[in-house]
Symmetry: C2
Subunit: 362 residues, 2 copies
Amino acid sequence: MQRVYNFSPGPAVLPLSVLEEAQRDLLALPGLGVSVLEIGHRTKWFEKILATASANLRALLSIPDNYKIVFLQGGSRLQFSMVPMNLLHAPESSADYIVTGTWGQTAAQEAQRAGATSIAYTAKATNFDRLPSERDLKLNPEAAYVHFTSNETIQGVQFLEEPAVGKVPLVCDASSDFLCRPLPIERYGLLYACAQKNAGPAGVTIAVIRDDVLAQCTDEVPTMLSYRQYVEHDSLLNTPPVFAVYIVMLVTRWLADEVGGLARMRTLNEQKAKLLYDAIDSSEGFYKGHARPDCRSLMNVTYRLPNDDVETKFLAAAQDRGLHYLKGHRSVGGIRASIYNAMPLAGAEALAQFMDEFRKRA
Amino acid sequence: MQRVYNFSPGPAVLPLSVLEEAQRDLLALPGLGVSVLEIGHRTKWFEKILATASANLRALLSIPDNYKIVFLQGGSRLQFSMVPMNLLHAPESSADYIVTGTWGQTAAQEAQRAGATSIAYTAKATNFDRLPSERDLKLNPEAAYVHFTSNETIQGVQFLEEPAVGKVPLVCDASSDFLCRPLPIERYGLLYACAQKNAGPAGVTIAVIRDDVLAQCTDEVPTMLSYRQYVEHDSLLNTPPVFAVYIVMLVTRWLADEVGGLARMRTLNEQKAKLLYDAIDSSEGFYKGHARPDCRSLMNVTYRLPNDDVETKFLAAAQDRGLHYLKGHRSVGGIRASIYNAMPLAGAEALAQFMDEFRKRA
């Protein structure tokens, strides 16, 4: 059984030690005699898993007590609706959307179905290759919230500092860079992330919500779409995705115990990203980065090759070297190397080396 | 590693061969070198898994072409809202709810938040120990749909024949008896089931919907709550719960190949249930069944013991014999033995034998 380097944008690579522990116990949890796929969500075992996953997240991100952590289903795309359904209910209220890529655009479109929205910024005209400066943002100081996407998976642009939005609650789709670095969490009103990039497998979504934002949520929503209900029932409103939460617990434990925390994780992510961006920048124009250098993502490195033919050869030759799932999204073209937390440094090194070799051969 | 007999009401026991295959490939799928927890949902591999799971369900239940099968998230509880949000939108429309237990009651309450509903029947006065006869149902021939719960997990009452509702679309929450027997699927307009009883792990919900019912669905719902969107995008509107769908594929393959189909499954389920109901009926009143004999569930066998003290002893002694998770829900009390598809006959035999021995000792 040989594992390849998996550069998939998500579902994405997980830490090997996490997979090994999940595999070891898959037929029967020690001392319990049932699989994690079979165990009740009201058991002491699962209550502890859920509490540990939550405590791990709280410790990793230094989340204060006035924030609640909940585990949801439906992916970030359901959050695109839950956010406005919960927060955009007062008469004449409106929300601002900062659109720096495909996912921010989709979030804004979905929010329009639920209430009034305004586009505070969009980089669509340049195919989402950049981030706004502070003066680019057209913010409404009375907005119910400002929504942004901290990392755009498809385009590979990432906010490494939060946009300045004054006193309006900042809502963040952190799906593809959650846990990649420490965060100044007090700047966020609500942060959500599907797990399948940095936190676990597909099937669970994490939300971190500040008490005053929670207090703004309406109760006039379906029970399963109410943040307040999830908080009040400690994410056990109904059967949660037990296995996915268990993997989140293992991944967050790995981050704390094996990696050594999010500051260390950020350093490792910067090292990996630098290898690939250096390979682009030293290629004399053979590789052309999509994102502007000042807003390049630590998670998704996007670049094009001279033409489609060379690109096809690149993908085939990369795969022969055990470097998989590098094809970019059609809206950007070229290559996308996703180097999430669990991608080892050796994977980025192997890709950077291959990029140099391929260019010299081409 | 010793496995116990797991009588949990859900998440529940899974076939050992399914767990073994999932365990074998958990670090890397053969020929792919990535885990099923890491693989992209747009890969050929996952497209095939999804198509196979769907095809297996279609074959097992003889589902005709005018029904679509989709895979959702959020559990049955989100369906409690999705059904009325999609179907209860026309002015002055109303839906009928047949309430035979806790889940049907919860479904009706949640539906009231979305539209007008009427209780066509409730057995609440007798703590849900029975099913309605045809003349008990107060049905509105103009209703948008009639909703019922085919098996009530908490009370252990099960419809083994569909209620007669004329031409009104019949909507069924089949969460806890899905795939336990063949179904006359043409009597259903919409059937949904969370996976964690008979079909897989927690985290995926299956819906089967007839074309004319699909045509009735409004588009004025959030994208992630639209049955039509799921159908049009073949359940790939966003990242589905890949691992849970994979397990559903393995479970449905097990049902077809190892069990031999749903008629055979029903026979096996009847054998298991008979062992336990016989132990109740031959106990000279020591064990008192909750459900009336004519509507006893094949999936959840509910009964009480003479008093709480004896019950506590029963649970402890059962656990010593490897018979786990037998405690009943507080609203019914006593014992609940859930004997879903994957509970082997030997498990039911062991419990029946223990029941006899315990009674004679007591």
